[in-house]
Amino acid sequence: MADWVEACAVDDVDEEDVIRFDHGGRSFAIYRSPDDEFFATDGFCTHEKAHLADGLVMDDIIECPKHNGRFNYKTGQAKGAPVCVNLQTYPVKVEAGKVMIQIA
């Protein structure tokens, strides 16, 4: 059974931005979209080991800080070279001002 884990407070993430969340030896990226929804993906780019939390959120895209590879952080879809492998996404819910992610 997958667990819901508290990742951060709602206010920890600016609108159209991303933060890093480490848990259980793994690293995740928590996004807040321009329309105030929250999303979560694996923290590291699938191309090379760069943390996406240092990247740039534009609309529904996260751009990796190292080689500018782009993913749709809502679906995890890789949007073209230099990223070819999709990102793992995770279910997210907000409860009492906390952002919770479901980690398998």
Binding site: D14, D17, H47, E48, K49, D54, G55, L56, M58, E63, P65, K66, H67, N68, R70, K79, A81, P82, C84
Partner: protein
């Protein structure tokens, strides 16, 4: 001691093995601390600066081409083709670069369109070069890993001088495109282009070759050199500015280090060169933060310069500084120019750097 082993610049050789073994490959690189909110602001994308600059660029290309053709057969065509060549074969390099990073425009397709046009102008396969540049950012001037080391050690000064004419690049680029069009990638290319992308490189090469064949056919049909002077030819007579500015990015500096402050160079340049070069003279800043668009690099420079080596005040200054280093490298290839960090700068990864620094010119 470093330097007792000859450098092997192939991407599948002894230096490659050593770089992977020692942890130089795909290493963590130094970054100056910049608050997240400030960095986010610097990284912001906008279409308008690049649309303005691209309109000026393409407009100037059309005007200079029209002038060159109009005055064809007289000496008056020379200044027009001088400008056309630089715009075609030098300014395209920075457009290729910035649009390849996807930072010039906010809108993705605009980056892609300009990237494809600029790649064609440069006779660069847009697929293989996208991947070689990704590798250049992962392993900047790491011998055996970086596919874009312009001047290897010991330096071949004749080859470097000829680069200003575009002759060697021309001689390499066209056969490379032809080879790729026949479906052949070299082991080096295969080392940085993922298998699933390799067929795209072949298709892109076929498009480029087809356009060059059509240009030659048009020239024959018209019984005129004009098509070749306008398409492909500028790679010979207009490359000099790209080489003049681009060589300074890393030449003479340390290799096999994981700190861009030590292997990259920021040079102050005149506004015309900066327009042609799209601010890539802020090269340490670009490598440290490749997400920052060209128009924000001067602001980034102001923000982090306290942590960087003193920039060269001019291209002339930079070449004067590097010339004796190149001459010394002819006899002693480990010699290099050590960039002095300011006293306030944070040092980084001594285990890689202290050994290398033994051969440095202070």
């Amino acid at each position: 001691m470093a330097g007792t082993i000859k450098r092997d610049y192939s991407l599948v050789g002894e230096s490659t093995r050593r770089a992977i073994e020692t942890g130089l490959a795909s290493a963590e690189w130094y970054h100056t601390d910049v608050p997240r909110r400030t960095m986010k602001e610097l990284m912001q994308r906008s279409d308008s600066p690049a649309i303005r600059d691209t309109a000026i660029w393409l407009g100037a290309i059309l005007v200079s081409a029209a002038g060159g053709v109009y005055f064809w057969g007289t000496w008056w065509c020379v200044p027009f083709f001088f400008a056309y060549g630089v715009l075609y074969a030098s300014a395209s390099d920075s457009r290729w670069h910035e649009c390849g990073h996807g930072t010039a425009f906010r809108t993705r397709w605009m980056n892609d369109v300009v990237y494809q046009i600029a790649s064609f102008m440069l006779m660069r396969n847009p697929v293989t070069w996208r991947w070689s540049h990704a590798r250049h950012h992962t392993d900047t001037i790491i011998v055996g890993r970086d596919a874009e080391i312009a001047v290897m050690r010991p330096p071949d000064l004749l080859r470097t001088a000829l680069a200003f004419t575009g002759i060697l690049d021309f001689r390499y680029s066209l056969p490379a495109l032809a080879r790729q069009a026949f479906g052949k990638l070299t082991p080096d290319e295969k080392s940085y282009v993922p298998e699933m992308e390799q067929h795209k490189a072949v298709i892109a090469a076929r498009w480029h070759v087809a356009i060059y064949i059509a240009t030659i056919a048009l020239a024959v049909f018209m019984q005129s050199w004009i098509p070749l002077v306008l398409v492909g030819g500028p790679r010979l007579y207009g490359t000099w500015h790209m080489v003049l500015t681009g060589l300074l990015q890393h030449i003479g500096l340390a290799d096999n280090v994981v700190d861009h402050r030590l292997n990259s160079r920021t040079v102050y340049m005149n506004p015309i060169s900066r327009f042609i070069y799209w601010n890539m003279n802020y090269h340490v800043e670009h490598h440290m933060f490749p997400m920052v668009p060209y128009h924000a690099l001067p602001r980034l420079h102001e923000l982090i310069k306290h942590d960087l080596p003193e920039p060269n005040p001019s291209m002339w200054h930079a070449y004067r500084e590097v010339w004796p280093v190149l001459l010394r490298q002819l006899k002693y290839e480990d010699y290099f120019l050590k960039r002095a960090l300011p006293p306030t700068a944070r040092p980084y990864r001594g285990e890689f750097h202290e050994v290398n620094m033994s051969a440095a010119a202070e």
